[in-house]
Structure formats: structure tokens, C-alpha cells
Amino acid sequence: MTRLWPLPIFLAAIGAALAAEQPPRSGLDYATPGLRAMQADDFANPGMLWVAEGEALWDKKDGMGGTSCQSCHGALSSMAGIAYPRRDPRDPSRLMNLETRIEQCRVDRMGAPPFGYESRELLALTAAIRNQARGKQSSVVEDAAAIAEGERYYRMRRGAFDLSCAQCHEERAGKHLRDETISQGQSNGFPAYRLRWQGLGSLHRRFQVCNNAVGAEPSPLGSQEYIALEWYLAWRGRSLPVETPAVRQ
């Protein structure tokens, strides 16, 4: 069920505050003290349950080759410096994010069935890998074409309410919308634990929520347009430290 936010009221307020370029701020800065405390403590942050599961999956043998991620890659910590999204080396027209990259290893290198986007296992592995870089800036592959494509999506008005991502996350950051404070919509905490989801969720699931909220047709999880958008967000927030797993409302 899609619920539309009370946008008429909201829209009336837009326009007055056309923001100048703001320095990047993490969603954590906009979160309530309770959520911040929950995120800061690894034994109170429920997202760490997925990280722990991902760490275990890293070492678990599976598939026709009877290999684990560890068999080929060594320690999980070796993944701390990787930069995603990037282009598929075998087909540079195809964009890959961390999730689709992991699935490719599952299928092509391990001979195992894919976990499926938004499955518990794929979220767990993605979170465990991203968590290796926690506290550090994530490197971003400087691919002008892909980033420009993502930015186009970001600035395009869409949906019944004709709103772009930028209109909320640039122009209205810090303002309240329904029961939430709009942040800059940064991606540095994903996959993130969201109270409303009562679980961990991917960045693309968050995109779908934001699309639905303005009455726009969401794209499929893992789709090329979402990966381009993810790439632009990574570039836009490149100075922020990785927080995975963030805790959000």
C-alpha cells in the first residue's frame, strides 16, 4: 500500500528556501538522540546482527565448487577498500553495485544459486563488507558518464506530486515532513536498519519508498537506473564516513 505524504501543505513551503550547495551531512546528524545512541553501540544496534550473519556467510562453503567467499578472497577485511558501483569488466555498458557483484560471484564463481536482492543473506553479506570500511570515507570510482546519469535521475521531477529527489534532500533538508526530519538523503549508512522495516534494508529499497511517497513508479531493486542513482549519491556524499549499519526511523 502506498501512502502519500501530505504534500500540498509541504509544497506550499517549498520555493522560499532554495538552498545553496550544502556541505554533506550524514543522516545520523538528523536522527533523534535515541536512534543515534542505538547506532553507536554495536551491541544495541540491531543491524549488527546482519553484519554478524554476513561474517559467518563469508566463510560458509556453498555451490558446485564447494568454495566460500573466503576461499578466493581471504579475510573479509580485505574488502575494506573496494569501491562500488563500478562497470562490469566483461560488459562496460552494465553497471554493478556491491549487491549485484556478490550475486555474480555466487553464480559465476561458486556455481551457487543467487541469494536474491533484498534476501536476508545478500543484505547480510553486503552489510558485512560495507562494515569493513566503517568510519572511513568510501572510495568512489570517478565515472563521469555514470555519475551524470545518476544525477539526471536525482534532479528529474517525477510522480503525481512532480517532485525530484533534490527538492526534498537538497532544498528541504532539516525540515519536517509528516513524522520525519528530511535529511540530505545520503547513502553512507546503507544497508541500514530501519525501525519501520523492523529489519535491515538496502539503499534501493529506500529509493522505492521515496519513489512511492511522491506517487512515482519505483524501479526494480538492482536496476540499472537505481545503480546509476546510487553511484551519484556515493559521489555526492564521498566525504562522509561509511556508517553501515546505520539505524534510521
Partner: protein, 105 residues
């Protein structure tokens, strides 16, 4: 089921120390309906126990208002070196156990 437990490695005899325990569980409360309007059956962790060298620290019944991925923190009295054990019981009868060593000086 994945669980995460925090127990300090070393504590002083007679002191109180904090323990935190979390379990990955949807805690389906039985009141929700799925997309087709069918009731989703209840499935929760209904019992949680912590023991210290076999002696009870606390023993809880959990009911439907306990949140998903249930969390507990509580204070334990340091007596002897040994083991803290944790036990979660699911509606389906399965039991998850976890233990953590503790050194008392």
C-alpha cells in the same frame, strides 16, 4: 538464529557488570495480515534466560509486545570466573543457546 551478546572479558569480584543480548527474530505477533488479507500466524521468542555458572540471573517470559530483534540489557553480580549462558525459546519449540566466558579477578 543469529544472536549478539556483550559480556565484559574481565570484572572485579563483587562488582556489578552490564550484559546486553540481542537476537535476530521477526517476532511475528499474529495480528498482522499478509497481502492477500490472510492472518500471519504468530511466531515469537517466548522465553529468555540468562545463567551464570548454572545459577539464574534472570528468567523472562516474552509476549507479543516485545519488539522484533529483541534486546535486553541487565546487571549481573561478579562472583567467580566461568561462563554466562543465554537461552532463547521459539514458539516452534526450537532453542537457541549461546555462551560467553567471564574472568573474575
Amino acid at each position: 538464529m543469529k544472536v549478539l551478546v556483550s559480556v565484559p572479558a574481565v570484572v572485579r569480584r563483587g562488582e556489578a557488570f552490564e550484559v546486553k543480548a540481542m537476537a535476530m527474530h521477526v517476532m511475528e505477533n499474529g495480528f498482522r495480515r499478509d497481502m492477500d488479507g490472510k492472518a500471519v500466524p504468530r511466531k515469537i521468542l517466548n522465553h529468555f534466560t540468562c545463567r551464570y555458572n548454572g545459577e539464574i540471573v534472570l528468567d523472562c517470559d516474552w509476549h507479543t509486545p516485545i519488539s522484533a530483534n529483541p534486546y535486553m540489557s541487565f546487571a549481573v553480580k561478579a562472583v567467580d570466573s566461568g561462563t554466562l549462558t543465554f537461552e532463547w525459546i521459539d514458539d516452534d519449540g526450537s532453542i537457541e543457546r549461546h555462551s560467553a566466558p567471564i574472568t573474575v579477578t
